[in-house]
Symmetry: C2
Subunit: 483 residues, 2 copies
């Protein structure tokens, strides 16, 4: 039926018309089939991910592994006959986890009025990890715990109630959201802004429920940020199973106290690191750029396999596919592996600022940063007419399981390219690869984000999907000009 629909729409001209040019040709079908065959039969993304995860490991900005990963990727893509490959300097803040990291809770005093709480609860160690950007505790920090359901719920408390306390932000991700990214977006503010919001009530520390729909025993890391002018208090994530337990304890005993001990810190000097840029020069419009990328840094608890090693090796695979299949793009296609997405976004900001400075004209920017799962399509941050062009390709891409072409978010790293201060081309369109979203937050920022949890075919299909989309945008680039 889908074919009938597309045909009908073209005949009735009910969507934007682009002259008599067809939506795609049989040559496009053939090229895309070749892209998928090549990726599934001779793909290198899975092996590359193995090296990135197992030989290099996690890649926090400023760590030796982060720079090692950039060097490795530079060497690898050199084999793919790119026109040029180079590092782009990025200056970033360096946060260091330190070697002391513990959270425990204990009962403040027995509650004799409750019959089932006869003896004082012994110290209970939690699965916890300091949030990225947090200050250390400067030795053990002990205070009573106050549970708060969300940032919004803080408003229900008075300063008196929270002064000197450790705030426990226990907002869960909403499991009923079919897209787990929607659930994440709805409550990640407690992790990012929870410390400063709580500090403004006089709190002296923050514990945040990990951002996952699972009930598991892993702390899921992530970044936080301090508001200017507010006291900087330490913040840590605890596992969802411990968050549920702490909630139960508070119900049972009424009061609990927590002891936080972290020696994480932000280094006084910023660090010089880099993005990796590699491109295949366009044969017709080399000055017009289709940029695609992923972030090469990662959190330091797992191996950064889904987040975002998968995206990195998929982007490298795009270059390999164009080379192996001898696809000569009309416009320049450029891969950027961004540094520092996780805690600062200086890679994305630096790339965009440099592009502005050079007056570079980007047709679009594409990003893969939602895990190496079975691809379903793309979320598109562009004009309605641009979206319509892409949706006309639906019947072409449907045989590859790609059906999702909807308005939506591009990605953290490519966002700055569209910000007013960096924009060269008013028509710039952002696209995010949209894989199946069910498993992402099982692994996200935790020790479980390892190579073993990435499926080879799913990963390979994602890289091929990106290559197919880049090929199509390159072929029909003029349709994306709206002026």
């Amino acid at each position: 039926m889908r074919k009938k629909i597309v045909l009908l729409l073209i005949i009735t001209g009910s969507i934007h018309s682009f002259g008599q040019q067809p939506a795609y040709t049989s040559n496009d079908s053939l090229t895309i089939r070749n892209i998928f065959d090549e990726a599934l039969l001779k793909g290198e993304s899975y092996l590359n991910l193995n090296v990135l995860c197992k030989s290099i490991g996690h890649r926090l900005t400023g760590s030796p592994q982060a720079d090692q990963a950039v060097n490795w990727a530079q060497q690898e893509v050199s084999d793919y006959q790119v026109s040029k490959v180079y590092k782009q300097e990025v200056t970033a803040v360096r946060w260091v986890r330190g070697d002391i990291e513990s959270v425990s809770v204990q009962q403040i005093s027995p509650s004799p009025q409750k019959s089932h709480a006869k003896s004082k609860l012994e110290k209970h160690k939690l699965y916890a990890t300091a949030l990225g950007g947090s200050v250390g505790t400067n030795g053990p920090l002990t205070a009573p715990v106050v549970e708060v359901g969300s940032i919004a719920e803080l408003a229900k408390f008075t300063e008196n109630e929270l002064r000197g306390k450790i705030v426990f932000l226990n907002g869960p991700m909403d499991k009923t959201q079919i897209s787990t990214f929607d659930a994440y977006g709805a409550c990640v503010s407690q992790r990012y802004a929870g410390a400063s919001e709580s500090a403004s009530y006089g709190a002296i520390g923050v514990l945040v429920r990990s951002m996952t729909t699972l009930t598991d025993e892993h702390a899921h890391a992530g970044s936080m940020s301090y508001k200017k002018g507010v006291t900087q208090i330490p913040a840590a994530a605890i596992s969802t199973s411990d968050a549920d337990m702490l909630h139960e304890y508070l119900q049972l005993y009424g009061t609990m106290e927590a002891t936080l001990n972290f020696n994480c810190y932000t280094a006084a000097d910023s660090v010089k690191t880099s993005n990796l840029v590699a491109e295949i020069k366009g044969t017709e419009n080399p000055e017009q750029i289709i940029v695609f990328g992923a972030h090469i840094d990662s959190w330091d608890l797992g191996e950064g396999a889904h987040d975002d090693g998968a995206g990195v090796v998929q982007c490298m695979e795009v270059l390999r596919l164009f080379n192996a299949l001898n696809i000569k793009p009309k416009n320049t296609i450029r891969m950027v592996l961004y540094m520092n997405e996780e805690n600062g976004n200086m890679g994305g900001k630096t790339y965009a600022a440099n592009a502005k400075l050079a007056g570079e004209n980007h047709i679009c920017a594409l990003e893969s940063d939602r895990g190496g799962f079975s691809p379903r399509g793309f979320s598109i941050d562009g004009k309605e007419a641009q979206l319509a062009v892409i949706q006309q390709w639906q019947s072409l891409l449907d045989p590859y399981g790609l059906h999702y072409f909807k308005p939506g978010y591009g990605g953290v790293d490519i966002g700055p390219l569209k910000n007013e201060e960096n924009r060269v081309n008013e028509d710039i369109m952002l696209l995010g690869l949209y894989p199946d979203p069910q498993r992402y937050f099982d692994y996200h920022h935790s020790i479980d984000d390892v190579f073993e949890n990435v499926n080879q075919r799913e990963l390979e299909l994602g890289g091929a999907s990106m290559a197919a989309m880049i090929y199509l945008i390159d072929t029909y680039w003029s349709k994306f000009k709206t002026n």
Copy 2:
């Protein structure tokens, strides 16, 4: 854009018209939202799968666990306020694996003319498993190996070349098929029919490459069958890594011999076992039945988690959801957990034969037997007008990630209901839940098909998708009458 399309189609009346009745109502939207919320927040399928896999285990027809699983499911669904629940007797052939199972290969003699083959290759043990239905070897069986690329390639050999040999059927699954089920369908004949086809050339044993797109070290089991009048020769699957190695050995040494040793057998007496049937009586047309099911038996190497424990617990969840949400179906909705899908299909055949005998009118039959992965829709074996009714629900189901509503296969267990000899209702439509197909054959019939490899959300969404589809078919049942 999808909404616009549906609207356009309705306005222009370009698909089958069903009077003025709308495709669905806002009440349907609400009910389906409730189904998904309930499944994701209070679903019991994941816990049930844990019990089925971990407390009961694998469930080959005729094993104590298979009957234990039926009893367990009967008890569980009794809690879901069903109108009735009962066992339906099934008589099946019982195949027994036995306790001796080994395959090894060795060089027949050194090949001094090849410089890199200086000494005789020692006996090399392979990862292997007897195929279900195979005869035993009656002690070690040693013979030279001849590699054949597929059943079709057998025709290139003369009887002389294969007489007394062990045929090694090494056809790989085609990785370029986006649906791994298509790749499986294209070469599973070598497993199912390879023994008899080879025996007709005088071969005395068969080794078959495991049916998986992975290169792994697990033998993937599966059923085979003997043609009447052809000598019954033993058949085993070997791991894909061993198949690749054996291929290399044959290139290197020219000749190899294999030793097979199995004491599997088919029991002289058939076994009495059962399907489990549970239903909620229809409020308006109790005599019209919507049947949905999965198979409760499994292969004996893993835990039958994806195949088909996932389907079993999803079907049980459908009953729970109807009960928890107080959805009263107009027609009778009936769950069947079929026995013996893996090696005989006697559960499906028995159910259909009994239904015919009782003159039962099935509106449709739905099956979940493609693993507990993220659901994408349904493959539909029905008339064009019926397919069109379902496709009109696309915009209603799209928010749940369901986009695939295409003509296709229903399933092994429900197939007999549509066979001419069993058909009561000419309009009977078959539907198969269609989850993402990328990972299924990584686990299929191997020791890796265990609970740990099933994702909770993916499993829960599948059960909810089935409940939503059953709810919609029940609500609009009259649209599926084509006469």
